[in-house]
Structures are given as C-alpha cells and as structure tokens.
C-alpha cells in the first residue's frame, strides 16, 4: 500500500494526464481487510525503527568503516580496518548472555561488542600484522533487532526470557531505563524547492547533503535579476557569472540549457545584461569576480572539508564551486557540465514559477520531507566517535613512537581506546543530547524515556515524530493538516498546545524505508533507455519529447517516452526484482507478486486511489490505479482505539489521543516483574465491548486500559455539573476503577573501595527482645524490609550503617547509623510488593523496593471515555439511590447530558448503542474508522434492530425509576455500556494542605510545592484584591505573620539595623557604636535580607521610624 519513502525518487517531468493502468482489474477486493493482519504480522508495529537499526548494523557501519578505513601515522606505519561486526549482547565479566529484562532490573545497558578486523604495521617489519575480532566498544542494541536475543523468538521463548510477547521492541535499554530514539522530521535533501522568501523574492533552494559536505544553495530573483547566494560569498553572485565560472561562457548555451521558449529568454535577459555590464565574458573573469566576493571568516570552517583546495587566490572560487555549490552533483575531472545542467534546471523551474504560480513547491508537503530514524541517528553518533577514536589512536601511536625507551613491537590495537565509543553512545542515548561538532549538530531530547504508563502510550511513543522546527515559532503553515499526509501520518494524534501540529505520529501502516543500493538501479535506468546527458547538447535537453529523469536528486539523463519508462520501472518493481521502495512498493507473497505495492507521497500524485472498488461513481473505473487496503489505516495506533472516530468532532479525537496515553490498564504481560519507578495498573482491566479492527491488530484487546461501564446519560444530584461523574458505590465495591500504584524506592549499599562498604545489620533489640525502635517492625532478620509487609510512613526499609573511617582492621572500624525510611502518604497503608537485590557495574549493592498501593476510586479521581470526554468523580452514591430499570439494570455511573451538545461526540452515542446491543447478544461490535461500507463498523440501523430484538428501544433509551422515590423518571434515559478509562491523575497524589511546616533557609518563608510540604502562596493578584478591598490587617497577617516575621533592632539615629546583645540584655547599633536610640520592630525576614543585600552593594537603606 502507501508508504513513506525515504530515499529514492524517480521523477518524471511533465507527466501527462494519462495515469498508468494496473494490469487487470482485481476481481473481488472485498476481503482485502485480510491483508491487514498479515501485513502487521510481517512488519510489526515499529518495524521502521528496527529496520533502520538493522540497516545500520549490517550496512551503515561497514560503510562508515570503509570510508575511514586507512589511518596513516607515517607512510610506513598505518592502521587499516578490514571488517566490522556486532556480536550478541552479553555481560563482559561472566560472559553471561544479557537479556533485556535482566538489564532493566539491574540498571545495565543492553549492549553488544563491536569488533573489527585490523591490519597494521609497526614500521619495522615489512609484513603488516593482522588481528581479528579486536573490540573497539559496545553498541547499545535495539530490542527485537537482528542482534537482539529476542529476534525471531516465539511466545514461549519470550516468556522464558521474561519478555512480553506484545512488546514491540524498537527501543534501547540504557542503564536500566528504556529509551526511544524519536523519529526526526527533516526537509528533503537534494531536492529543488521553489518558494518565496521573507522579502517576497522567488527562490530556488537545494539543501545538499553528501557524506562529506552539507550545504545550502539558493538562487533568488531580485529586481528581475537572478543571483546565487552561498554562505561562502559576501554578496550574492549574478547567476550568469556563476554559469560562466563553470565554463558555460556562451549566453546562448545558457538560454538553450534553460529552454528555448522565448519567454524564458525574456526573463533571463536582465541577468545576462547585468553580467555583461560587469564586463565578464570569460571563465577567468568570472572566477576572479567570485574570488573577490569570497568570505574569509565564514568559510574557514568549510575549508576543512575542501579537499581540492589548491592555490590561495584563484582556487577558492573554483573549489567552492566544486565542493560547496550544489555539492551533491559530483564533479569528475573538472567537468562542470552536470552542475551547469542542474543549475539550469533550477533556473528553469524558477522561471516556470514566475510564468505559472502553480508550480511553486510547498515546504510542508509531506513528499518534501524525510524521516530520520534511530539507525541513522546512531550512525551519525558512531561515525563521529569512530573518527575521534581513530584520531586518538593515531596520536597515541605518534607519541609512542617518540618515546625512545620503548620495548617490544608497536601494537596499534593497544592504542584503540574502547571507552570512547561505549561511553559516547551510552551518554548520548541516555541523555538525549546529540552533540556532534563534526556535523555541527546540537540536538536535545532526541531520545526519551519510553512512556510505560499504558501499553498504548508506549506504542504511541514509538510512532511519534519530533518536529524539525522549534516549538516556539508561531507559524500556522507547518502545523496545519496537509492533504498529502493521508495514509502516512495520523490526522488526529498530535498534542495540544505549543507542539500542536508539529509533533506528529505515523499512521498504522506507514513504512519508512532505509537506503537502497544505488549502482544497480542507475544501470537499470540506463538500460531502460535513459540517455546520459553528457552525450547531449544543451539544445537536446528540452527537445519536444524529452523528459528528464531524476535519481535521488541527481539528473540521470533524459528519456523520450516517460510513460513507457515509468511503466517499465513499475513492472520491474512489481516483479520483485528491485526493492519495493524504489518509488513505490509491495509485501510477502502479495508483495512478490506485485499485487500490493507501497506508494510514496510523491507517487501518490500520479495515482488515482479508490477506497473501495464499488464506490468508483463518477470516475471511470479504468482510471483507478490503486485501491486502499483499508481506510482505517489512515489513523495511527492511538487514534485507532476510538470507536466511530468519523462521527466525532475532530478535536475530540485529538483529545482522546492525548488521554489514551494516560489511561491505566495492563502495561505488558511481564508488568508484575518489572521495576519501574512508577507503575499504575488496573485491577480488573477489560477489553472494550465496542472494538475496532485496530484494537485487535495492535493487541489492545489483550492489554486493555479501561472498563465497560453502564452509563446513564442523565442529571443526578447536581454533583455532576461541569463534566463530573456520579458513581455507584456498589460498583466501586465490586472493583470498578480499582487500581494498583507501584512505586519504586532504591536504597544503595555504598562501596567505598578497598573492601570498605556500608553494612546492613539485623534490627537491634533490647534485653527484653523488643525492637529498639518502633519503626523497625517490618525489617527481616537480614535488616531489609520483607515483601508482603504493610509499610507505613517513616517505617525503616533498610537498617544500614556507614563506616566512619576506612581502617583495614575490622575491629577499629566504626560505623554510624544511616538507615533508609519509607516516605509515603500519612494514613495510607501500602505494602512491600517485592525487594530486588543485585550488584551493579560499580560493585555497589542497590536494593530496590517495589511498594504497592491498591486504591479504589474516590471523589476527584479522573475518568474519561474514548471520545475526549474527561470528567472527575463528583460524588459516590449508594446503589439503592441509583435509578434502576424494571429489568433490574442499575448504571455504574451517571454522566450529565450537557456533555453532548457542544462536544458533538456522536461516536460516543453510537458506542453506547453498539455496546448495549453487544452485551445483549453476547458479541463484540465493531466501530472502525470509516468502516461502514466495508463492514468494519456496524451501522446504527443494524444496531437498533439488534436492540429491538432483545426488547430494548431502538433509540437505546430506557424507562427508569428513581431509586430514591421509587417513581418513574420524567424522561427516557439513554443508557448502555461505554468503555471508560481511569486516568493517572488521582486526588491522592495531588491533595495538599498545610498549617505550619518547613521554611526555606534563605528567606525563612514557607517552602513551595507539595513535595516539600509547602505553603499555599498568596500571590500578587490576591494581594491586589486585598489592597483594593482595604483589608490591611489581613494583608499584614498573610504577608508577614503567617510568612516570615522577624524582630529587628533599629537605630533611630542612623536608621540602620542593629543587633541584640544577649549578654548585656541590650540592643546595640554597630554603626553608631552605642545602644541609645534603639527601637524594636517587626518586619518580614525577606525585608531584612533585602536591606543587608543592598548594603553589601553599597546602597544604604535607612529606616525612619515614627511612634505607633
């Protein structure tokens, strides 16, 4: 089907109105849904990450090694890399195979050795020495990648390794935390983009990127004349000068290259005139002109990359033209012709844009964007570190050669420092900072801790795309929904607020490609009749029936029959001879047979895609080139949970996408053996009664995050206004919304080296055998709290002692008590779930306590349906007071009907209907996005009929009696099951109040924030109110007495602060050197502090007191 395509584009210019036809129309594509599970089975949900990483390990690494293979110290002494490979993850010390779960629990990095085969000389012997499997560092391994132990394992094997079979992999485990490298969005490289810049000028820009150089070439038109702008030149260079500098001296040839259309000539005339008015006619003159415009300061750094930097003066302009200007177009043997042609094409497209404004490019068009994945990002890091390592190795070798007293032969492999790569990779992935000076890249937040709040949250995290722009920009363009993101990016799943529309998510079936080998494809193109431009004159390029063929942003040549060529390419692709992602593509058997193909955004423009075969309608059937597998795949994983999303107001779906990630439920099959810092689990999680196909495909039906609650849409008691929910107490008693919060607390038994470490001792008892401290009662005989014990605030977890000295002699060594206590909510009973003891890399012994707390819903806990309708629990009512129907049905919760009119969440109403029909028939109904025509969503009519058959009203409304009065309610009540999620925001974690408590040292004012038991601030706006009201005593009380009152001694003579001499019982002014005229007053401590700080800056605040 459709795909995001990464690298290869074969682009036909002037593609006519006749889209290519698929061979024969498929007889019955009715069951095409069957393809979807097959597709996801083959591909997995996060294949893009895994593919990308695999590509890096198998090919990318080798390419980097080959590019940096030879390192010479002198002509005779060198180091050459021959091969590079990555092994299996294992622990270095005991050679135990590492498993991801082991790493997660013991705070290790899941990584494997990178080993190389090398060849080096020591300068003495003629024969180079060879060494194989030299370890140069450790590479963090992506879970489920080809080097991971989980690769290819089935469910039972995974269970044995402690892994959840539904976990998609695609992330790293670094120092025990799971890290995802987010997909980075970037502007397409090596592509001509015609745009209008900030000054309203038409520009043609190309961001060139090759292995060596990254540069940006811009042509712009100012006052009808076209200029080249490059960072290396101080001023824009007239375009004709550039063309001449590249050897196209004749103006006519330039015009020919751009095109013979006289209108092009007219537009080029001012540029040509300007050039001649500058009296530049030859290549020499042009180069001299450009040399003069050379920018010294800016290009200093660039010079590093200029390989053919020759003579100082003339060389400069020329070398810039070769290496920076349109850097991706190679210059072989001083042949500038390809560059000239490329520049001409840029000019032509600019002029086209002037003549016809439709031909402007859109920067936000998805086809003009590329996604950078974890493999590429790790590859950048690795390349940088590999180079650093080699430079250092060479330096050390140099140094070692300088040492006269060296013994034995020089061994190059000894100078390779393995820590550089290991630590560098580990540091970058664990902090998320990609700081690569070599590539001038300083990105923050590239990797993030995988959100394990819910299964769907983790999946959603893996499909997230981080934006190319910074979030602060107030632009609407890049945030808007692009028509071209259909099927590629989820239209619903984006955060609210500053990152809205910038952070995106992949759609369900999006595939992101890795690089494809170029060589064979180029020769294939040539053999399919592409004529190389080198053999053609400028005139021939735009002959009537010739079309340019682009390959990865390079002009390959021209072809006279573009349709034949495109069809031929497609045929080759469909027959599976070339990679499916060459422009467009297919999978597994179907893929091989060419029945299904991936379309990239750019190719979609040349295809006519129907949703269903039968819906062709006005369009001629024969014109349809493709059929979508399923329209529901245009949404992402997170939006796929919403039933009937196409009946909802669109922002509601976006809100649900944000909330689905906060819902509690089952996280993974191994959730009880995990040791996360914070884990919320639902006690009785259910699968939704109204499901979607996506839910089944991603496994949400196995790891649900919510419960099917019978909801009555009615008003009750007034405690349900503003989206509050009234809950049935009996439902809560029976386990509705009950959750488990697991928190981790780690205590480290420090190791001070030299066999000196903390000790953990059994709880001390007095002579009667009673514990010396009351809070020791949960300790076991080993001095560590035991699992299963009920733990309260300030209970001791570890009875630990730290050494005061490091005496070798155990007898003289003294210890002090350094016990660890449990910090929890006062009055709540929590239980120690598990205790994990292990040794980490530094020989320390951390002890992890997993502390469990079972909570039932209380007033103020947050709940939400799957339609962006969140609400807090407003009141809890006994079951006998709840309305009931004559069948005896009593709702679990009551929702106020005011939630519907303004939100327009029709999907929720249909969910209720479908759910009601579902329970009464004992089956699951479907509500997949846009699924009605294909049968993936039940129609309301059918649901209503199903309800009627079970004796319900077709409208889903029931006749209810008041539970308080026993009389019938005035209206029929819309009642039925809706899937409700319990969100992580719970009152228990948030409620906070304080009377007196801790204060800040510096200002002596109350602390801030719940975690520090802080006070509630009376801010300046509140203060303004009190001032306006005139409540001066209240202000006085709030701002001083309840905050930081302080008594000072003021000298009435000099107005400065004195002090109180406790011995003499007398206040004293240190300025006037006497104790006369002293007065006592109260002021806020912060005020006194301010005076003193001002004094320290030589500003003297004086207090002038009057009698009060």
């Amino acid at each position: 089907m459709v795909s995001q395509q990464d690298d290869m584009v074969s682009q036909q210019e002037d593609f006519g109105a006749n889209p290519n036809l698929l061979a024969a129309p498929i007889k019955s594509p009715v069951d095409k849904f069957q393809l979807l599970p097959a597709f996801l089975k083959v591909r997995g949900l996060v294949k893009q990450h895994i593919d990308s990483f695999n590509y890096f390990v198998n090919y990318g690494m080798k390419k980097i090694m080959e590019a940096n293979a030879l390192h010479k110290v002198t002509d005779t002494i060198y180091l050459r890399y021959i091969n590079i490979s990555v092994g299996e993850p294992y622990v270095a010390i005991d050679n135990i195979k590492l498993t991801p779960q082991f790493c997660r629990l013991s705070d290790r990095t899941y990584s494997a050795d990178i080993s190389v085969d090398i060849e080096y000389t020591d300068g003495k012997g003629q024969h180079p020495t060879r060494k194989t499997s030299v370890k140069i560092g450790r590479l963090p391994i992506m879970l489920r990648s080809c080097n991971c132990v989980l690769n290819g394992k089935d469910e039972t094997e995974l269970a044995k390794l402690g892994e959840c079979p539904l976990d998609p992999g695609g992330y790293f485990v670094v120092k025990g935390t799971e890290k995802v490298i987010l997909i980075q969005e970037q502007l397409s490289k090596n592509r001509i983009l015609i745009d209008i810049d900030g000054k309203g000028r038409i520009t043609a820009s190309v961001t060139c990127s090759t292995h060596e150089v990254k540069s940006k070439t811009v042509f712009f038109m100012d006052k009808e004349k076209i200029y080249l702008q490059l960072n290396q030149f101080v001023k824009p260079i007239p375009i004709m000068v550039v063309m001449k500098a590249m050897g196209t001296e004749s103006d006519q040839e330039v015009v020919q290259m751009v095109g013979r259309n006289p209108r092009y000539g007219d537009l080029l005339l001012p540029s040509i005139q300007e050039c001649s008015s500058e009296r530049i006619y030859s290549q020499e003159q042009a180069l001299d002109y450009m040399d003069a415009k050379f920018n010294f300061f800016k290009s200093c750094s660039i010079q590093l990359f200029i390989t053919s930097f020759s003579t100082l003066k003339e060389g400069r302009a020329k070398s810039i033209l070769t290496d920076v200007f349109l850097a991706h177009v190679p210059v072989k043997e001083q042949n500038f012709r390809p560059k000239c042609i490329y520049a001409a094409v840029m000019l032509r497209r600019m002029l086209d844009a002037i003549l016809n404004s439709d031909t402007f490019d859109d920067k936000d068009y998805v086809g003009n964007k590329r996604l950078e994945l974890s493999g590429q990002l790790v590859s950048l890091l690795f390349e940088d570190l590999f180079k650093t390592m080699n430079t250092q190795a060479v330096q050390r070798m140099n140094y070692a050669m300088g040492q006269s007293n060296r013994s034995g032969a020089l061994d190059f492999s000894r100078y390779i420092v393995t820590d550089i790569i290991t630590l560098g990779l580990e540091k970058s992935i664990s902090t998320g900072n990609w700081d690569l000076k070599r590539f001038r890249m300083h990105k923050k937040g590239v990797s993030q801790v995988l959100s394990r709040l819910s299964y769907i949250g983790a999946l959603g995290h893996m499909t997230r795309i981080s934006p190319q722009f910074e979030k602060t920009r107030k632009v609407s363009g890049p945030r808007a929904l692009q028509p071209s993101q259909w099927g590629m990016l989820c239209p619903c799943d984006t955060p609210e607020g500053e990152a809205c529309g910038l952070t995106k998510n992949l759609a369900l079936m999006t595939h992101v490609t890795t690089d494809e080998e170029e060589g064979p494809l180029i020769s294939l193109c040539y053999s399919l009749g592409v004529e190389d431009l080198a053999h053609l004159s400028a005139e021939e390029i735009y002959a009537n029936d010739s079309y340019l063929v682009f390959f990865n942003g390079l002009i390959l040549g021209k072809h006279t029959r573009p349709h034949t060529f495109a069809n031929a390419m497609r045929r080759v692709r469909r027959s599976g001879k070339i990679g499916e992602f060459v422009g467009f593509r297919t999978f597994d058997d179907f893929l091989h047979d060419g029945l299904i193909e991936y379309l990239d955004v750019n190719e979609q423009n040349n295809a006519l895609i129907a949703l269903y075969e039968h819906e062709a309608g006005e369009i001629d059937r024969s014109e349809i080139t493709h059929i979508e597998i399923e329209p529901l795949t245009l949404l992402g994983v997170v939006a796929g949970l919403i039933p009937y999303p196409h009946h909802n107001q669109s922002p509601r779906n976006t809100y649900q996408c944000a909330m689905g990630k906060q819902a509690m439920g089952n996280i993974a099959f191994n959730q009880l053996s995990r040791a996360d810092t914070l884990l919320y689990l639902l006690v009785y999680a259910q699968r939704p009664l109204l499901t979607t196909k996506t839910i089944e495909l991603v496994g949400y039906d196995k790891l649900g995050a919510g419960q099917n609650a019978t909801v009555a849409v009615m008003s009750y008691s007034g405690y349900d206004i503003e989206d509050a929910i009234v809950m049935n107490k009996s439902s809560l008693d029976r386990g509705f919304g009950r959750c488990i919060a697991m928190k981790k607390q780690t205590v480290v038994r420090e190791n001070y080296g030299g066999k000196v470490s903390d000790i953990i001792v059994a709880p001390q008892r007095d002579k009667d055998g009673a514990l010396i401290r009351k809070n020791m009662q949960i300790l076991g005989a080993d001095g560590i709290a035991e699992p299963g014990q009920i733990v309260r605030n300030n209970d001791m977890l570890v009875n630990k002692k730290s050494p005061l000295n490091v005496d070798k002699d155990l007898k003289t060594r003294t210890y002090k008590d350094t016990p660890a206590f449990f910090k929890g909510v006062e009055g709540e009973t929590t239980v120690i779930d598990r205790v994990l003891i292990y040794t980490d890399n530094n020989e320390k012994m951390p002890i992890k306590f997993i502390i469990r707390h079972v909570r039932r819903p209380e007033l103020g806990d947050k709940f939400s349906s799957r339609h962006g309708q969140k609400g807090v629990c407003g009141t809890i009512v006994n079951q006998e007071d709840f309305p009931f129907s004559e069948r005896g049905i009593c709702p679990d919760l009551i929702m106020n009907p005011h939630g519907f009119p303004s939100r327009m969440t029709i999907g929720k109403m249909i969910e209720l209907l479908g759910g009601k029909a579902g329970v009464s028939w004992g089956r699951f109904h479907y509500g997949s996005a846009f699924g009605e025509p294909s049968g993936n969503a039940c129609k309301v009519d059918d649901i209503s009929n199903a309800l009627i058959q079970k004796g319900f009203s077709y409208s889903g409304k029931d006749f209810l009696y008041s539970g308080i009065l026993g009389t019938p309610l005035q209206a029929y009540i819309f009642m039925g099951p809706i899937y409700y999620q319990k969100l992580k925001h719970m009152v228990l974690d948030k409620m906070h109040a304080r009377a007196k408590g801790p204060r800040v040292m510096l200002t002596r004012q109350p602390t801030e924030g719940r975690s520090r038991d802080g006070g509630l601030r009376l801010g300046e706006m509140e203060r303004d109110c009190l001032i306006a009201y005139g409540a001066s005593m209240l202000i006085f009380e709030r701002l001083m007495l309840s905050s930081d009152p302080y008594q000072v001694q003021v000298c009435q003579k000099c107005g400065l602060l004195g002090y109180y001499n406790q011995k003499l019982k007398k206040s004293f002014c240190s300025m006037c050197k006497d104790g006369e005229n002293m007065a006592t007053m109260k002021l806020p401590y912060a005020c006194k502090l301010l005076f003193q700080e001002l004094q320290s800056m030589n500003v003297v605040p004086r207090l002038k007191l009057t009698e009060a």
Partner: protein, 316 residues
Amino acid sequence: MEDTVSYQRLPKVRIREMRDDFMKFELRETDASMANALRRVMIAEVPTVAIDLVEISVNSSVLNDEFIAHRLGLIPLTSDNAMEMRFSRDCDSCDGDGQCEYCSVEFHLSAKCESDQTLDVTSADLHSVDHRVVPVDVQKAFDSDGYDPNQRGILIVKLRRGQELKLRAIARKGIGKDHAKWSPAATVTFMYEPQIHINEELMETLTFEEKESLVDSSPTKVFSIDPDTQQVVVMDAEAYTYDEEVIKKAESMGKPGLVEIYAKEDSFIFTVESTGAIKAPQLVINAIKVLQQKLDAVRLQDDNNFNELDAHLGGS
C-alpha cells in the same frame, strides 16, 4: 395531626413465582414509597455474612494479597442465621479476633500447585469452621448431593507449579450499605403494573396489515393478533416497558387513542434475585423484618424529637 384520617393501608402480596434464588410477587394496594422502601432495604440493609478480614501467611500466586482479599470478600456465603448474629462492633463477648461464635466465622484456605497443570483455587477450597456459613456454591452442591466436575466453584485464583496460597479469613455480619459484598440481592426491581385499554371500535377500522404493524411496533411482545378473530389482544401486559412505541405508532397512523396505557399507581410487580446468601423468599421476609425494626425505632423515639420535627415543618 388533629385530623385522624387513617392513612393505614393493608398491602396485599400475591406470590407469582418462588424459587431459592428468584422470586416474583405482586404488591398491591400500597404506593411507591412502600414498594421502594422494601426494595432499598433488600439491597442495602438485610444483613448477611461475608469475609471481612484476611490474614495471608503464604501467597506466591500472581495476584497480590489485596486482590485476593477483595475477591474472597465478594464470595457469597450462606447467611441464613445472619439475622440472629451480632455485628462484630456490637459484640461484647469477643475482641474481634474471629474466635467468637456470635459474630464471626473463621475460614481456612490452603492450596499448593504441584503439577504442571494449572490449579484453580476456588470457593470449594475455602474451609469453614461453621457448617452453617459456607460459600453458596458449596452449599448448593451439598444440597443437590451431586458432584459436578464442571462446577468447581467460584474461582479465586489460578496457581501454576510451585505457587502456594495459604490464608485465614474471618467472615462477619454486615449490611449492603457498608459494602456491596454484604448485599444479599443480585437484582431487586419493581415495575408499575400497566393497564392497557384497546379502543376496539377504533381498532376495527384498521386493516390486518395495519394491525400487524401496530403489534410489531412494540419492541417487547405485548400485543398479539388472535388468529381466529383477527383482533388485537393484549398478550402480556407486563412485557410492556413503558416505551410508548405503540401509542406513537397509533398517532402516526392517525388514530390517537387507539391504545391507552396507564400505570396502576398502587400495584407493583417485584422481581427479586438473590446472590444465594439468603434464599429469595427469606430475603423478602428479612427485609420486611428490618423495615419493621426501623419503623419501630422511629415509633419508639423520644417525642421531643417529633416536636422538633413539627416545628421544622411549620408547626401544627
């Protein structure tokens, strides 16, 4: 209260259907307040016995202690003598440790899986020291005297090889108001008895097809057509769910008043389903007893309180 008009009514009960776990009866010649009071008491105030305190000594199962304790609490226990038992808070012959015969019943559970097959720990493994208080399904199996291998009881937890569960539980008397586990009622509901009048004159003006569509318009089977006379007759008035579909249908056919349905304000049809803790008929009787006790409590209250109430209501 000078007027001594008697509001006394003598409600009549007619039992329609009576099984151990189900009962259907008519309550006539009273009003909604009476019917609702009975319903509310059945749900929330008829005492039963349920596990309230669990001491877990070994638990290596996948479910945590609180989880298992919660599940144990929800197992219905036979509570026929719950009315005579004491609430443990009122019991003065014990200190609430479960050793007291008046207020609590002790249970023991010990299970360990030693085979490769998953072991289901069910209510059948819960051993009571008092044979009168046992899980309802155990009692049922005992009564029917037959061992049904498919009916292993209420599942508490599943164990795999090596896992063990050992605990002591204490069941206490309580009421549904405190926690739903003490509620003996699975479903208690009532409906007003519908009175359906068919305007035969108007009905005669309908064609057979129209009659058929009228009959079909009701989602429940309330009406039918007499095959002999081709007349619309009321088949089952109680199947009517007050949905007014038939009335709307009649209106849309341009024949308003074709069918008129009223709720009889003074007759109710009760449906009672029991969890098994107390047999459904006993549940109703117990509920009436509790209701009586509550009324007694009101009657025996200090008169001063009533004066206060009178003053509150405007004084008379």
